[in-house]
């Protein structure tokens, strides 16, 4: 792992197009400013891990019985397209 020291206001550049800047340091919280092309998704790592765990909990058998839902008036109505 590459470890770099940066001061507030300094940046690193990844692949010539992703800029990560140290914005602020407050106690043990570091605020990062990230500039990347819109084609590059940026997410907190926890989001991936949470979804992974959630998927594993959701995997079930084909014989599972489905819950009966209430308060879904839209199901009876017409589904329209709104863009």
């Amino acid at each position: 792992m590459l470890i770099l020291s940066r001061k507030i206001g300094e940046s690193i550049v990844i692949d010539g197009r992703i800029h990560v800047k140290i914005m602020r340091v407050e106690g043990d919280v570091v605020k990062l400013g990230i500039e990347a092309p819109s084609s590059i998704p940026v997410h907190r790592q926890e989001v991936y891990e949470e979804i992974q765990r959630n998927n594993q909990q959701a995997l079930t058998k084909q014989s599972t019985s489905l819950p009966k839902l209430t308060k879904l008036p839209k199901l009876a109505g017409t589904v329209k397209q709104v863009i």
């Binding site: 979804i51 992974q52 594993q56 959701a58 839902l69 839209k74 863009i83």
Partner: protein, 145 residues
């Protein structure tokens, strides 16, 4: 790409449907499983089944997120829309994975829906750009017995 409601989602179609769905990158945590069978039955709406495409008998229960939350406005990152070759929102079928556990209220994941191209039947689990606005465990309103 902002995905709003879908036109005539298959999940609420009037007749049962079975469709092969290819998820080339797998679901998060299940990257090795790429072939699924989407089974919808009007009697089970708004739920549908995403069966693992082998003989394991395993499946995910999925739901139409726009029925669960009419104001749902997922922002599909451009890289994912490009990967799925989506040119407009109505090309996409969105499914949210449902978690059903005994004795607990069922929930659905609105942060990471499965987005399927209706024409190619290729899908991907997408972390929406506005994931922070939605819950990983959005509670489903269960009818009283």
């Amino acid at each position: 790409m902002k995905c709003a409601e879908l036109m005539e989602p298959e999940i609420t179609a009037r007749t049962p449907h079975t469709n092969m769905v290819r998820i080339p990158t797998g679901l998060l945590g299940f990257e090795q499983i790429k072939d699924y069978v989407l089974k919808t039955n009007p009697e089970e709406a708004p739920f549908a089944w995403l069966h693992v495409g082998d003989d394991s008998g395993l499946a995910f229960v999925v739901v139409d997120p726009f029925i669960v939350m009419p104001a749902y406005l997922p922002d599909i990152p451009k890289v994912d829309a490009d990967f799925l070759q989506l040119s407009e929102p109505k090309d996409a079928l969105l499914l949210s994975i449902v978690t059903i556990k005994d004795g607990e209220q069922p929930t659905t994941n609105l942060k990471g829906p499965i987005v399927i191209n209706r024409h190619t039947h290729v899908g991907k689990q997408v972390i929406i750009a506005n994931a922070a606005d939605y819950s990983l465990k959005h509670p489903l309103p269960v009818a009283a017995e």
